[in-house]
Symmetry: C2
Subunit: 210 residues, 2 copies
């Protein structure tokens, strides 16, 4: 025991991303689903997470349910708050990636600049932007949560697609057209993309172990 | 394929905390280290994480390094900002626990009310508050980052222990006196506590698998 008790050794970091990576047996990733409300982002993210989990990946999902009620419960829907919402989600995703996890994130995230700022937090191979594409009329006809109806009635001001803009992704890694594809086909395409990506660039696969 | 494309089925959540728990083979936990700057919180948290990781636990660490430079880079050190800092860290820890991870969190977290607010986010068995106890003189003599010197020189206003209060934990799960104990003994005591806690209350152990 040193004179002052603890021998303070300042580890910059005992465990690193590489340790979690080695243990989990796959590359950490962010799979970022962007698109209009009702486009199917959340459904696809959950289904893709389940598929990856079944393949043995260490996964987690970030979506409105767990972000808006907790960390971001202090934020509204103004442009500034939406930007801060996405910034924080990006930073949380970065922590999960640092912990070796494949993060599925499903958020309208309407602004290109905000999505680019999130992308910039990661290594190029770690970030996959998926544009869940579907025309407004179809999304509005689905209206799974009744949000478009409320927005049209003026009860949800600044609703994306109605009175707030959605900027289409300029160079997403993947476009999934949910007006044409069903859930199973869409998820299969997403998983195929992730597998291809990791075969191209990874020293190990992103799914299914080493 | 349904008429509107995707058959939107709104999963409330496909995978749940129980799924990650089952897969990881141990209970998720927050181990929250609180104490003065220089008390040894960060050293102990890193060493405890390493010990748990080696036992096969799925772990992650939250500390000033990864929180203040990322998610909380917009916050300063006023009382309001310190509260918000701790609130956000608590919410991030909750996401990690939801993902089945054992989170080691090392923050001065000087206010009892803030620590209690974090505790309230979790089930009682999930939250372990460790008071890393050491008198101010000893902490100041260690001064591993030179912060006390700066604070005494007036360069770091509102520094805990100098011109900002530290409220000692009223009912921590564990007190580690780093004026008396070395790192190895301290870590051993922490791991023992976690093992005892999980043997008492858990349907599975928190460390070392099922």
């Amino acid at each position: 025991m040193a004179e002052n008790g603890l021998n303070i050794v300042w580890h910059s970091r005992s465990l690193t991303k590489a340790d979690y990576y080695d243990r989990n047996g796959h590359r950490p990733l962010v799979v970022w689903f962007t698109g209009l409300s009702g486009s199917g982002k959340s459904t696809l993210a959950h289904a893709a997470e389940e598929a990856l989990f079944k393949k043995g990946c260490y996964t987690y999902i970030l979506d409105g349910d767990n972000m808006r009620h907790g960390l971001n419960s202090d934020l509204g829907f103004s442009e500034a708050d939406r930007r801060e919402n996405i910034r924080r989600i990006g930073e949380v995703a970065k922590l999960f990636v640092d912990a070796g996890i494949v993060v599925l994130a499903a958020f309208i995230s309407p602004y290109q600049e905000d999505r680019d700022r999130v992308r910039a937090l990661f290594e190029p191979a770690e970030f996959i932007e998926i544009y869940v594409k579907c025309d407004l009329d179809t999304c509005e006809s689905r209206d799974p949560k009744g949000l478009y109806r409320k927005a049209r009635a003026g009860q949800l001001p600044q609703f994306t697609g109605i009175d707030s803009p959605y900027e289409e992704p300029q160079a997403p890694e993947l476009v999934i057209d949910t007006c044409r594809l069903g859930v199973e086909e869409s998820v299969a395409e997403i998983i195929r993309f992730i597998e291809r990506r990791s075969a191209d660039g990874g020293r190990r696969t992103a799914v299914g172990g080493r």
